[in-house]
């Protein structure tokens, strides 16, 4: 279980939004800034954060939609960042993605059978004669009826489309699937169906997930470890039980407390954060959370805390825990 599948080291992605007349950048959006963590084979790693925290950007770097500004990505021990486009494409087969919006992630001009068959055909994974059989098998895996494979996406509901998206990702037998908020656009009763499906598929195919979500309650169900991001930085990583039982970073505490409890008799004391997430274009110096933090120390505004292990496997980036090792 402890074999590392994907290891990210000091990963960063900066978007240049404006340049001056000499071509020097004047506004840089640091979507992902110096993030390091690793995903173990067979686990589901939950990545949580609010909009603009860089979680989706990080996911897109892993599937090669963006190339990182700096940092290294080791996949099964191999550095992906030094490969050229053609060599990198060979790894498509191993890292796939499931998208948030089931209405935008399927080509409306292709039948769902063709959508699922496409990754097999372009990567030449099976002889032509076996493609159709495989498509039926995949439809079966995700709980769709085989006779529907000649239909177009607009004839399906959101939940069914999400299943097609999952089948497409499964078609190449990937090792890692980046799930970018796969249930947040779905109705409550359908969310549970899709989450359970992802659970079953993980067991059946031995998949590893990077599960991106904005709420801590959804990832709680599916993930083994959880990382919390805020403004491009990873602020806390811990095994699931540890994180939910003993959240250390003030932001994690606030996120947990913001989740409405499905029990009106048990109204809890709630931490309500003041203000909004600052713009990632001009993040606060020092700790990025200090403008909203309710436990702010003097040094928080001055220097950024580093991610350090404060308990076994529990990492947190906060000055409340230990001194900064420079």
């Amino acid at each position: 279980m402890s074999e590392v599948l994907m290891d990210m080291q000091n990963l960063a992605k900066h978007f240049t939004l404006a340049v001056n007349f000499l071509g020097k950048p004047t506004a840089v959006l640091k979507a992902v800034d110096d993030v390091s963590f690793s995903i173990t084979k067979g686990e589901a790693f939950g990545l949580v954060g609010e909009s603009g925290c860089g979680k989706t950007t990080l996911g897109k770097i892993l599937v090669n939609l963006y190339s990182p500004t700096s940092g290294k990505i080791f996949f099964a021990g191999k550095d992906l960042t030094v490969l050229n486009a053609e060599q990198r494409r060979a790894y498509c087969k191993d890292i796939q993605m499931i998208f948030q919006d089931p209405y935008a992630s399927l080509n409306p001009k292709m039948t769902i059978g063709d959508i699922i068959a496409e990754p097999i055909i372009i990567n030449r994974l099976l002889p032509k004669s076996q493609v159709e059989e495989r498509v039926i098998y995949l439809l079966n895996c995700v709980g769709l009826a085989r006779h529907q494979r000649n239909r177009y996406p607009h004839e399906f509901s959101g939940g069914q489309r999400q299943r097609v998206g999952i089948a497409r990702a499964l078609a190449v037998e990937p090792k890692l699937i980046v799930c970018d908020e796969p249930v947040s656009a779905l109705d409550v009763s359908i969310q549970a169906q899709v989450l359970n499906l992802l659970d079953d598929l993980q067991a059946e195919f031995g998949l590893t997930y990077l599960f991106i979500a904005h709420g801590l309650n959804v990832v709680k169900h599916i993930s083994d470890r959880v990382g919390v991001m805020y403004l491009g930085k990873l602020v806390e990583i811990a095994p699931k039980r540890e994180l939910y039982a003993n959240p250390l970073h003030p932001y994690t505490q606030a996120l947990l407390s913001a989740i409405p409890v499905i029990n009106p008799a048990k109204k809890k004391e709630r931490i309500i954060l003041q203000g909004d997430v600052p713009s990632p274009i001009n993040p606060p110096a020092g700790c990025r959370f200090c403008s909203r933090c309710f436990k702010e120390l003097q040094q928080c505004q001055l220097n950024a805390p580093l991610l350090q292990e404060v308990a076994p496997e529990h990492w947190v980036a906060c000055h409340l825990f230990g001194a900064v090792k420079a």
């Binding site: 939940g159 109705d187 009763s189 359970n196 309650n217 699931k240 913001a258 499905i262």
Partner: protein, 324 residues
């Protein structure tokens, strides 16, 4: 009693047939009460709010029923008379605050305009009131931010502005249609807290439309669960969450991943999906997804019955007791 909806039905006439988006629903809202209507997409919850506001777009139309605001039937008023009530006695906030604010005007201009169309006040008074209102909804340095344009504000700030605008004329009823759906969790908590505070302050009633049972549990006094245009269950919030009766409500509650539950079990799932509105089963609309479905469920429609103030539409509770 502030608002009483009696037998409201709203239809959409499409080429392929008539969709009954809202089918004969009745409910009331008292002064100062927060009533939540919860349902999934296609349940008719938003159409209900649009019907009350008289904002239905073609091909939708109210096919029957009364919407009594105090004693006035809103359905019988002309658009002009409705205009007077809308934004004044009844206001609305929407899911996507950006599309409801005009991008070319400063926010103070928009709020002042809404004040001055309904109240006889001077320009100066309207401005004062605007700034006071922005301050109340928690916008820091309100006098300066009042000069901003909508795009200069974040999503949470815009929703506050929308709320300020809606509350500027001190309405008696606020209809909030998915007010927090487009917002982040930490911002959602802020807005819900704001709604609660405003209710205390202005003593208005709120009709909260949402798909999120968490939001309902946090904010509402009473809950209506809608499914396929029908009311399936209605109860005060504590009763509904502690003893839900309808299998649909029970299923919904169980299928939400909860923080305090042991998370390694499988989630409960409601099987299947919402039936096609053009091809509704003759009986209970939930019958083909229900774990307790009986033969008669798919043949006849159960009535909404009142069991000591807890209303439920299900054959399991005929005669006021649960039949097994």
């Amino acid at each position: 009693m502030l608002l009483e909806v009696k037998g409201l039905s709203t239809e959409f006439k499409l080429k392929r047939g008539i969709v009954k988006a809202v089918d004969n629903i009745s409910f009331t809202i008292d002064k100062g009460e927060i009533l939540a209507i919860v349902g999934e997409s296609g349940s008719g919850k938003s159409v209900t709010s649009l019907s009350i506001m008289g904002l239905l777009q073609k091909p939708g139309r109210i096919a029957g029923g009364e919407i009594l605001f105090k004693t006035q039937d809103l359905n019988k008023l002309s658009q002009k008379e409705l205009q007077k009530i809308r934004g004044n006695k009844i206001s609305m906030i929407f899911q996507e605050p950006m599309t409801s604010l005009n991008p070319v005007w400063r926010i103070k201009t928009q709020i002042m305009e809404s004040i001055r169309t309904h109240l006889q006040v001077s320009q100066h008074e309207a401005l004062e009131r605007t700034i006071a209102m922005l301050d109340t909804v928690g916008i820091p340095s309100a006098a300066q931010r009042a000069n901003d344009y909508p795009h200069q504000m974040s999503g949470g700030m815009r929703q506050r502005v929308m709320t300020a605008m809606a509350l500027a004329c001190e309405p008696e009823l606020l209809i909030a249609d998915e007010p927090t759906t487009a917002l982040d969790v930490t911002i959602q908590a802020q807005i819900l807290e704001l709604l609660y505070r405003m209710r205390e302050k202005f003593h208005m009633a709120v009709l909260l439309i949402t798909h999120d049972l968490g939001v309902v549990s946090e904010a509402a006094d009473r809950v209506i669960v809608m499914y396929c245009g029908k009311i399936m269950e209605e109860a005060d919030v504590r009763t509904l969450f502690s003893t839900p009766l309808h299998p649909y409500t029970v299923g919904l509650l169980q299928s939400i991943p909860q923080l305090d539950a042991d998370s390694d079990e499988r989630l409960y799932m409601i099987k299947g999906m919402v039936p096609n509105p053009l091809n509704m089963p003759p009986g209970c609309p939930f019958s083909d997804r229900c774990d307790h479905s009986m033969q008669r469920c798919s043949q006849e429609m159960p009535q909404l019955q009142d069991i000591a103030g807890h209303k439920v539409r299900c054959f399991l509770y005929e005669g006021g007791v649960r039949v097994k």
